[in-house]
């Protein structure tokens, strides 16, 4: 019996195979206008317009820029900023000046020949300053790291959204098990979070940083408009839905029903959003 079982198992295992190419037909679908625009006080606005590429356009896709669009930005006071296509940066840049102010509302209008008009709106968020930064060396998992404690004060009784990232250190990565990371213990380039659990509090983000050749680190705390936050969150969620098997409570499985990325654009995909940033630059530790 034992010999039989052994022979049986070996013979069966040789037939193992689990992946094969297959011919399937899928319609490409209509190409969509993809628009990206981010406004921030003191930063020149830039609107990027292109067409989405079909699923079967190979590695990296086949992006087609839209160069003949009419692009306008209106503020709540009736001012209009017009844009024109710039070949060198392959985006639309303003041809006249308009002041971008925190708290103000701005409308984007885009007309691409052959497509319905695109419209979106955003309100510029207030700046939220970094109050203090404390840093000191620590040893985690046998690695010598620099720990940074970045403190800021979340304004009370209002919804605030943040994008936190650093430039410098080791490939911009940092390590953190801060709960604002939603319990994700892997290394990160950035954190997108809301003030849901820290509303009105003075809060300290704790990150560990590995330095090699860089001589400084800049720490960025961006206050985001809601649509920017939802856009980044939905991108993260769409990428994670194919991860297996368990991330916290939600089971991200490759057969889960997919969903569309958040957009606030009418007749297009992408985002028109705004942010307001505070940046602190520190020298690398000795």
């Amino acid at each position: 019996m034992v010999r039989f079982i052994l022979l049986f198992t070996i013979a069966a295992s040789t037939l193992y195979s689990c992946q094969e190419p297959v011919d399937l037909y899928l319609e490409e679908g209509e190409r969509k206008i993809v628009a990206h625009g981010y406004l921030s006080p003191g930063v020149q606005a830039e609107i990027n317009l292109e067409l989405s590429f079909p699923y079967n356009s190979g590695d990296g896709g086949d992006t087609e820029e839209i160069t003949n669009a009419v692009v306008k930005l209106n503020d709540q006071y009736g001012h209009t900023q017009e844009f024109s296509y710039n070949d060198s940066i392959r985006s639309y840049l303003p041809v006249n000046y308009m002041n971008i102010l925190p708290g103000d509302v701005y409308d984007l209008k885009v007309k691409v020949p052959g497509y319905d008009s695109v419209f979106a709106r955003t309100r510029i968020p207030s700046k939220i300053k970094i109050d203090s930064i404390r840093h000191y060396p620590v040893t985690v998992d046998y690695r010598e790291l620099e720990r940074y404690e970045i403190t800021f004060s979340d304004p009370p009784n209002e919804e605030n959204f943040y994008f936190f990232y650093t430039i410098g250190g080791s490939y911009n990565h940092f390590y953190s098990d801060d709960p604002l990371l939603q319990w994700d213990f892997v290394e990160k380039d950035y954190i997108v979070f809301s003030d849901e659990i820290i509303d009105g509090q003075k809060y300290t983000i704790v990150i560990d940083y590995f330095f090699n050749s860089e001589d400084s680190v800049s720490i960025h705390l961006q206050s985001l408009s809601p649509e920017a936050y939802f856009y980044f969150q939905s991108i993260d969620a769409q990428h994670n839905i194919h991860e297996f098997p368990i991330e916290n409570v939600e089971l991200n499985i490759p057969i889960a029903q997919p969903f569309q990325i958040f957009t606030n654009l009418e007749n297009a995909v992408g985002i028109f959003a705004s942010f307001n940033s505070d940046v602190k630059t520190l020298p690398a530790p000795e």
């Binding site: 019996m1 049986f8 069966a12 037939l15 193992y16 689990c18 992946q19 094969e20 190419p21 297959v22 399937l24 899928l26 319609e27 490409e28 679908g29 209509e30 993809v34 990206h36 981010y38 921030s40 292109e50 989405s52 590429f53 699923y55 079967n56 190979g58 590695d59 896709g61 000191y136 620590v138 040893t139 046998y142 720990r147 709960p179 380039d189 950035y190 849901e196 809060y203 704790v206 961006q222 939802f230 939905s234 991108i235 969620a237 769409q238 990428h239 916290n248 409570v249 089971l251 499985i253 057969i255 889960a256 029903q257 997919p258 969903f259 569309q260 990325i261 958040f262 992408g270 985002i271």
Partner: protein, 776 residues
Amino acid sequence: MNSIKQLLLLSLLIIFKLNTLAQTYSISGKVVDFESHEPLINVTVHSHDSNKGIYTNDYGYYSLILPKGKHQLSYSFVGYGEILKAIDLQTDTIINIALKPGELLQTVEVTANQNSRLVAELGAIRLNPQLIEESAIIFGEADLIKYAQQMPGVQGGHEGFSGMHVRGGSHDQNLILLDGVPVYNINHFFGLFSVFHPGVIKSATLYKSNIPARYRGGVSSVLDVRLREGNLQKYTGEIAIGLISSKINIEGPIKKDTASFLFAYRRTYLDLFTRPLAAATGSNVSVGYFFHDLNAKVNYVFSPKSRLYLSTYIGKDAFFMKNKESVQTDDVDYVINQKSDLGWGNITGVMRWNYIYSNQLFSNFTFSVSHFDFDNSNLTSENTSDGDKKIDNNYSSGIEELATAIDFDYFLAHDHYLRFGIKLRGRRFNPGIESMHYNYQNDIELNSTVSNAKVTALQYAVYIEDEWEVTGEIKASIGLNINGFYTDSVSYNYLEPRLAINWQIAEKVALMGSYNYLHQYLHLVTNSGLGMPTDLWVPSTKRIPPVSVSQPSLGISWQILPKVHLNMDAYYKSMHNVTEYRMEYLLEEDQKDWQNKLVSGNGKSYGIEILLEKSGQKTNAWLSYTLSKSTRTFEELNQGKPFPYVYDRRHIFNVNLTHEFNDHIKLNAYWVFRSGRFATFETNSYMPYSPFPTGNETVDYYGQMNNLQYPNYHRLDLSLMLEKEKKRGVRTWKIGLYNAYSQVNPFIVEYDSSMNRFNKIGIFPILPFISYHFKF
């Protein structure tokens, strides 16, 4: 004068009729297994002289009303030898019968033949417990749900998983009852196994055409599973050792013919290997998974008229991970403790009391509790010389149910079998509570609890059904279920008619027709369709109204040859307020309310089902074929245009062949073919630009719902049973191959942009299995 004559004539007719009625008597009693005295369900009791018949109810009880005089009665049941009994009926008579197990007569039994079945059971499929046990699907584990998936009109979801999709309905549209109590999560190991212990199943009946009025809750099907009560005569049992799990079941008398018990336990042992393996390799990490099931039952016969049954089911799945790390360096000492637990399970408890008021009136009182919960907890604590840190995160969801019911079987006359009763059900839904605690060096402290409000719902159902023999050739089952559902914010009340007609157009041919109008107050929030523990049962609300289904069916049953039987059914099912997962990303505020995750729409499904069976002494075979189409239309999905249901498979073939070479060797071969399922695949992609370092990974745009059809699915399973009589029992080796020709059946399909082609990825290639069973 004429009027006086007419009145006299009418009076004579009435007296004659009453006299006729007065000359009928009842023959009632219980039919049990000869060896165990276990009551047998659905035994046919038939009077050949008067061509009247009845079958035993869920407790083995029957009552047949016959005219005074001599009768030849037969008692017959699948897998048992027939008993013939001659009686001279002069008064109400009690006849208890013990049937001896005999040859296995039929593989799958579809109720249609009027001589042997009553109409209410039209379209019901009785799944043979012996064949369920002998079938070995994945890893050699026999499984009721996977066996049911082989029936016409029924299909599984993803390969290897326990989802059940009946006639285009989603898998939450099935009411699955264990000894009369709903089981809310029927899955172990994310659906690879179901919760039913195959060794103790007494009967399993699947209703998908006519769902009798006594059932309510599943708009697509009802699967009524009854476990054995326990041998009243002697101790018996079975031990089974498999690749994944081992099982034991034991039953026997506490007091012979008065009280008995049954105990069944099953457990997987993956964790029993992973724990010592981790210790042996010096790893600090302990990871494992197990599931276990416990069924325990006792019953007591107070008198021939009164019997009490108590039973419980406890099932649990658990994943766990523990890690403890202590490090001492010149600069710092620290200890990290990590602990994660993911667990889910059902607990049910049932008390049933049978009481026979008279030969014609049987009653059953039920009181039950059912509970399903899902818990996930993660705890990390870090104690270092730089300070302490603790993160504690918990999530729980579930459903609790308390129910009571009283059901009556009233054998009114030879042509009317009434069932009526009332059911009350209270449920408490926990749609998810998440709590978090974070402490860093006692400087930073966060406490947060996010929860959906718990909802309490009350439900009642009053039903009556009559199985009516209209003429010798036509029988009808007419039923009505009046039911209501109440929560704090909403109430629904419905009348649900159920109708089935059976017309014996020739000796061996019967036509069947049925119409059902059904509602369902429970919805499953799921975005996988796999049967995950995170799937959430939620009640109907104002925004998410009850699902309603209207389904007419037509069928024909034909005994082509003495051992060859053909059954065909056609159906058209229209569904309203079915739910799907919303396709947009939800804003944070919106994610907190589960109602926002669902959209309601309509669906329709129609098809033809064919089941051809051949039974014999040595060889049994059946073939089933389903031709069907199922679509969905949602205002908020797919631009309001209809799209195919995810399991809209045009063709499904199942072929099952069992051959007994001799008393010791039996071979089973099962082959399945299904058209490919549908999936939503991206039609376009784009690069999400931002002024921040968010990377350069593209994102997808989905143009249409379920726009990609997967390749066809087919596989062959083979199993060989080697039986040998031993001194103390019967030993069986079960050896086999799942997916014998190693077909790569797609679990998912991915697009490989570097090669510009699709790849299908399967998760179950050829899988050999072996298991050992010893019955004593």
